[in-house]
Amino acid sequence: MSSTKFDVQYVAELARISLTPEEINTFQSQLGHVLEHVEKLNQLDLANVEPTAHSFPIYNVFREDREQPSLPHDLALSNAPRQAHGLFIVTKVVE
């Protein structure tokens, strides 16, 4: 669990967030400190411990397969930054 390989710019790219050079420097150092703190978890013996994803896991929550009203089309589009003809406009993916 070494934080030496932590490269803020690379991880930010994975998260699709552009950063300024100043932000890269600040975050690198701030998150470096946080990761150092987190390394204390290495002190624990976790060999026979199961992970907890959820406090009270509930499985297979089903409802009756019944038709229900859904969000009206115009309301679903009402907050879109760009829309036309009842559709969201997305940035071109393929040139």
Partner: protein, 482 residues
């Protein structure tokens, strides 16, 4: 009589007996906000016209008829803005009601205003709001806590009768402690999260911030319960949270965890909490020393799990379906990168990056999976403790309210503000913070909170302890001078 100084239940009683009208209540509230909020900045916005329209339709026979309840800017109220105090959601208007909101409306309450918060509920001071921090009514040079700092501040400043907040690692209890009000984080799954903008889905819960314990119980009666729209909501019968109020603490076993009385705990906070525990003893409770041995690892665990979940949840803010979209962009990657660069504040970016790292290939086992295993140990600590005691009593926050700007440069020091609250979220248990006196700093009285933790679905039990303490002390009646 100043209407706005009343509690929720006092206001409801006057409305029911027709001594005041819902319109007068809204009028008094708006006047108070106009006068006080420029000093506090607890509200991001409020809409008097909508509130008057709601007040005109009130049916006084309903349980919370005509009482306005302030809403944290992270909960959707149809037709109102819901921006999570973030630039990326500026101008967003909620298309539907969260389940807690439809339940409030059904009970006759009026969802009122949008309270300030740390952006996307990430923070402990409201200083991460994109629209400027809120201020603590007891000392406006200090922070009100966070992330539900606006909700706590408006309740403490009599700019609200009660408020809803959300708590992922202490975001209801910590600001309630620092502002001197009551804040309850329900058991995970007790209250529907449908319509709550997600931060860390396995930890988030909506809960009340109120002027007294009875109000917290009354609001829980309205908002708690199974919901087909939230599959993580527990299928438990609705409980009457007021049922155990007034039963006292005689014969109850209360646990005092030694790991919560450590270096870094402010001496005045420690004194107030120990006095409160002694007071509960005098009321007939038996106080026993207990141990929650993995407490020291809670912070590290939380700051892997919560950011990991946040990094996935906040991927939805892509500038396509809603919210802010950067202009002058060249291609899809730049569209995402710039939209999120310009739309998110620093703390949100930090947490998304931290969470993305904890989940990334090669680091998942070392960080995220490891944290999930420690989460198991933290849960086990609590279940072992609750085999011996009915409730746990401890400080809510290690310090009273700190000054604006004091911790913003060092995220880790800010994270330490939640050191006593976040374990409850990881274990899924319930907890409440109530006022238990004051610390004095530079001539100012700063509220101190007593935290009472209970086992899953034991909201009634912790409210019973809280009520017994509150009703035999005067702290909850103290008001800041504004």
């Amino acid at each position: 009589m100043e209407i706005t100084s009343l509690t929720l239940h006092e206001t409801r009683d006057l409305l029911k007996s027709k001594q005041i009208s819902a319109r007068e209540v809204v009028e008094a509230l708006c006047q108070r906000i106009e006068k006080i909020d420029p000093k506090i900045h607890g509200y991001l916005s409020y809409d008097p016209e909508k509130a008057f329209a709601d007040a005109a339709k009130v049916d006084v026979n309903l349980p919370l008829a005509g009482v306005p309840v302030a809403i944290k800017d992270v909960i959707n109220v149809a037709g109102h803005p819901c921006g999570c105090a973030s630039k990326i959601l500026e101008g967003y208007v909620a298309p539907y009601d969260a389940t807690v909101i439809s339940r409030l409306k059904h009970a006759g309450a009026i969802p009122f205003g949008r309270t300030n918060m740390d952006e996307f509920a990430m923070g402990s001071s409201t200083e991460n709001s994109a629209f400027g921090p809120s201020r603590n009514p007891w000392d406006t040079e200090r922070i009100p806590g966070g992330s539900s700092g606006g909700s706590a501040a408006v309740v403490a400043a009599d700019e609200a009768f009660a408020a809803l907040g959300s708590d992922t690692g202490g975001s209801i209890r910590q600001p309630a402690a620092l502002c001197g009000c009551v804040g309850l984080k329900p058991t995970y799954g007790r209250v529907s999260r449908f319509g709550l903008v997600a931060f860390a889905s396995s930890l988030d819960q909506i809960g009340p911030l109120t002027k007294d314990v009875e109000d917290a119980a009354l609001l829980m009666n309205v908002i708690a319960g199974a919901d087909p729209a939230d599959s993580t909501c527990l299928d438990e019968p609705a409980a009457d949270h007021t049922a155990e109020l007034g039963k006292g603490v005689k014969g109850m076993r209360l646990g005092l965890p030694k790991e919560y009385f450590i270096e870094g705990l402010d001496t005045q906070v420690e004194q107030r909490v120990r006095e409160a525990v002694h007071h509960l003893e005098k009321l007939g409770a038996k106080v026993v020393d207990i141990s929650l041995p993995h407490t020291q690892h809670a912070l590290s665990t939380y700051y892997l799990i919560a950011p990991a979940e946040a990094s996935a949840n906040l991927a939805r803010f892509d500038g396509v379906r809603y919210g802010f979209r950067a202009s002058e962009i060249n291609g899809l990657l730049e569209h995402y990168g710039k939209t999120r660069e310009e739309g998110f504040g620093a703390e949100v970016k930090r947490r998304i990056i931290l969470g993305t790292y904890a989940l990334s290939s090669g680091y998942y086992d070392a960080f995220y999976l490891k944290a999930q295993k420690v989460r198991t140990l933290i849960r086990r600590d609590f279940s072992d403790a609750f085999a011996q005691v009915d409730a746990i009593v401890c400080p809510t926050s290690p310090t009273p309210a700190f000054k604006l700007g004091e911790r913003t440069a060092d995220p880790l020091s800010m994270y330490l503000a939640d050191i006593f609250t976040l374990a409850a979220n990881m274990a899924g248990i319930c907890g409440v913070s109530i006022p238990c006196g004051f610390a004095t700093s530079e001539g100012k009285q700063l509220p101190v909170g007593l935290q009472i933790l209970g086992k899953p679905l034991a909201e009634g039990t912790i409210l019973r302890v809280a009520h017994a303490y509150e009703q035999s002390t005067e702290w909850h009646r103290a008001k800041p001078k504004l």
